[in-house]
């Protein structure tokens, strides 16, 4: 089920990436996105992944992957060594997301980040009406076992980029199989109806 849900997001990310570029996928999992990018867009992919089984899976598929922790080991990648760095749904799980983000912008000429949107209406109602920490398809864990330390909304990340002078090139909201462009003008409504936000920044 996780894979099915991920696929739409991966397609959106793939659409954002030009052919024949160099892409680093942080937290590349079993290499599904890397495989997609390599096959469909002839992209030169590299992955960074913490989990041993996932690393093995990537290696079996012939995908170059480095076992390591993005929180502490991004220093190994030189400045602007990739056209794009992709970080899919993990920004909120880092101890210091700001530091990680800074590193991603250093390594990549552009960065694609996706976040589970804490501003999605179902998440909001759960907290507002029931007074409980939200558990949804995109946020499947309960408060005591969630890896997410720094939940944010699409609006939060939007404002953060503005504050830090990070250029937002494009934001795509994803809800099930529907995608829509998010601009400042429709931010409030899209922040309410998008499950996942995908940011292209530099």
């Amino acid at each position: 089920m996780k894979n099915l849900k991920m696929k739409k997001e991966f397609k959106v990310i793939a659409d954002l990436l030009p052919n024949n570029t160099r892409v680093l996928d942080i937290g590349c999992g079993d290499g599904s996105l890397m495989h997609l990018l390599k096959i469909e867009k002839n992209i030169e992919v590299r992955g960074l992944e913490l989990n041993q089984d996932n690393v093995k899976e990537c290696i079996y598929k012939g995908l170059p992957v480095i076992q390591g922790n993005a929180e502490t080991e991004l220093h190994q990648f030189p400045d602007k060594s990739f056209d794009y760095v992709v970080l899919s749904q993990t920004l909120q799980a880092f101890y210091e997301p700001e530091k990680v983000l800074k590193n991603l912008l250093r390594i990549g000429k552009s960065v694609i980040i996706s976040i589970p949107n804490f501003g999605y209406w179902k998440v909001r109602t759960k907290l507002l009406l029931f007074g409980e920490m939200p558990v949804t398809k995109t946020l499947p864990n309960t408060w005591y076992n969630t890896p997410n330390l720094h939940m944010c909304t699409i609006k939060d990340l939007f404002n953060f980029c503005d504050e830090k002078n990070i250029i937002i090139k494009k934001v795509v909201g994803v809800n099930e199989n529907k995608t829509s462009l998010i601009r400042k003008s429709n931010l409030e409504i899209k922040n309410l109806f998008s499950k996942v936000g995908i940011f292209l920044i530099s």
Partner: protein
């Protein structure tokens, strides 16, 4: 029980019957001297296919030799990497053609300090030129030429084998489609050098060694050599692994003997390993090979350091380290990954979590072997396709 001299005589007869390439091309060594018309002993397993795209070169470690798998015809023991190489193994000899050569300076048929010096007509001893990892690798390139292999599917090796491999890739950037350096380092650390020095000093402190001239008398400084081997064996295990394997267990006795015999199992293990080693290895070879390892510093060879060493690298790398290896640590291995990344090379890296220390690459370590197999098999598919285009 044959005498040691007799044993060596018998070993030398056996060494006449193994595969050897006579390298006629002069090889200028890093020390400035040149060797020519020298033997390079090697062994192969499996069959080279018609496309010549299934060749895998294995580099052996300090005390290894060309007999990777099956039965070593000289020692009648199992090959040193029988866990990883053979029919149906991670490096499947039903599918791949595996090549391994004895390093020069060694004692399993390649030119080494116990061979006859053509100038004096006596064994070299310490007159043998000091060799480097680069010299070893250059000598082995002749073998690929001899076997008609333009590009290897893969080259691999652990420990000193990994160092040879890094050197091989830096010196011959287009000779291997893929490479798996395992549990190694791009240069010897102070601790690495210190441990090797301990081994050398143990040999040199044995009066039988006699400045390396023992070879003339057909004897072997076995006490010193055994201690040298014991040092090695301690460094190949992790503290935890050693504790789990031996703890304070006593060797076939109920209580202390109040003597200096091997009361503890760990003592008995070290003694066994030490004295088994002297039957198959030449003490001077240990001196020469450990020296080659100590001199190894890949970044020193290139002006821009390690990144420069891997510039324009087309080889696809997989670096593997073991979490409890304190001889060539995860950090040592990661430094190689960082340099490869910085030079833009295609590199994968995996750290295998294990308590078994540096020795892990020689053991039946399932996660390691699965990763190795997965990489090589996927590289074979890619290499075949690339060759077709």
């Amino acid at each position: 029980m044959p005498s040691l001299a007799g044993l060596f005589f018998w070993m030398n007869i056996k060494l006449d019957n193994i595969k050897k390439l006579d390298v006629t091309k002069p090889l200028k060594l890093d020390c400035g001297k040149t060797i020519k018309d020298f033997p390079l002993a090697y062994e192969t397993y499996g069959k080279l296919n018609a496309n010549k795209d299934n060749a895998i070169l294995v580099f052996h470690a300090l005390t290894g030799d060309q007999f990777v798998t099956g039965t070593n015809p000289i020692t009648n023991k199992e090959g040193w990497w029988v866990t990883a190489v053979g029919p149906g193994k991670a490096i499947d000899t039903n599918k791949y053609f595996v090549i391994c050569a004895n390093v020069i300076g060694g004692c399993m048929g390649s030119l080494g300090p116990k061979d006859i010096n053509p100038v004096t007509q006596k064994p070299y001893g310490l007159d043998f030129p000091v060799i480097t990892i680069k010299d070893m690798v250059k000598a082995q390139e002749s073998l690929l030429e001899h076997l008609g292999i333009k590009k290897l599917l893969c080259a691999t090796g652990g420990s000193m084998g990994g160092m040879q491999l890094l050197q091989f890739c830096a010196t011959f950037p287009d000779k291997a489609f893929s490479a798996v350096p395992i549990a190694c380092s791009s240069s010897h650390s102070a601790q690495n050098i210190a441990l090797n020095e301990l081994a050398r000093q143990a040999i040199m402190a044995d009066p039988v060694w006699d400045n390396g001239k023992y070879v003339l008398k057909n004897v072997q400084p076995k006490n010193g050599l055994a201690v040298a081997r014991m040092v090695g064996h301690i460094s190949y295990l992790s503290e935890k692994g050693m504790q789990e394997k031996f703890g304070r267990k006593l060797q076939e006795k109920a209580d202390y003997e109040f003597s200096f015999n091997a009361d503890f199992q760990v003592e008995s293990y070290l003694r066994h390993q030490g004295y088994a080693f002297v039957e198959r290895f030449d003490a001077n070879s240990v001196l020469y090979i450990t020296r080659a390892m100590d001199y190894f510093d890949l970044s020193k060879q290139f002006k821009g350091g390690l990144v420069e060493a891997f510039k324009n690298q087309k080889t696809k790398f997989l670096i593997i380290s073991f979490s409890s290896d304190w001889l060539y640590t995860t950090k040592d291995n990661k430094d190689i990954v960082i340099a490869l990344n910085a030079s833009g090379a295609d590199v994968s890296y995996s750290e295998i979590i294990t308590d078994k220390g540096h020795d892990s690459f020689l053991l039946d370590e399932p996660e390691f072997l699965k990763t190795l197999k997965g990489f090589i098999d996927s590289m074979y598919e890619k290499f075949k396709n690339e060759k077709r285009i």
